[in-house]
Subunit: 113 residues, 2 copies
Amino acid sequence: MAKYLNEFDATMQMIQGKWKIIILYELAETGQGRFGELQRHIQNVSHKTLANQLRELEADGLIIRHDFETAEPHVEYRLSENGKSLIPILDAICTWGDTHVNHNLIERSLCDE
Amino acid sequence: MAKYLNEFDATMQMIQGKWKIIILYELAETGQGRFGELQRHIQNVSHKTLANQLRELEADGLIIRHDFETAEPHVEYRLSENGKSLIPILDAICTWGDTHVNHNLIERSLCDE
DNA sequence: CTGAATCCATTAGGATACTG
DNA sequence: CAGTATCCTAATGGATTCAG
């Protein structure tokens, strides 16, 4: 059962990162997006951080970067097949959180106020 | 689709942490374990870090801590129902990693050597 | 045995400015 | 527009020591 821990860690490395899943979902919904579009849609992400996360996602083979190499810089990102196959996993995590996490959060938020 | 991102983050917070999943799997396999047993079975984890991760898992409701309160300190940890319900998700992540990650890792390890 | 406290190294990520 | 470089802060986790 625990013999796939290396694969677990490798997968976690890929989806850990404050904005990576938001990026993946954004690309899953829109099909593709330019750097500036992503930055506008994903509020509060800094320029540098978005660039970092995109590079890591690309290095991990989850997204594909297409540089049009025109005079006016134009780059588009989209999900790779690997990236697409990850979406159901992300959905499963969201669903688990929705049914198991909320109550904990509510209890805690009462302590915070 | 992306409306559960808060739940995603909350779930990720719970399972991020260098040893948390190893702890969860260990408890899933053995049923329960004492602090010292966990430290022996999980090689390379420091005393403090194991204590930290156990406290966080307990605070998140994924494991249950039972203090026998005997003269000779005796504490056992086991999965809560929430913790058990998370195992299939972890398995799904492992399985995805097994079928999608390995090749990337192999390609990279060639670069490292 | 279990766990808390202190000190320290590493890393992620934000702010900003600069390049092509 | 897209990307890089520098500086800075907060959080993670390891080593060690102390306490019940």
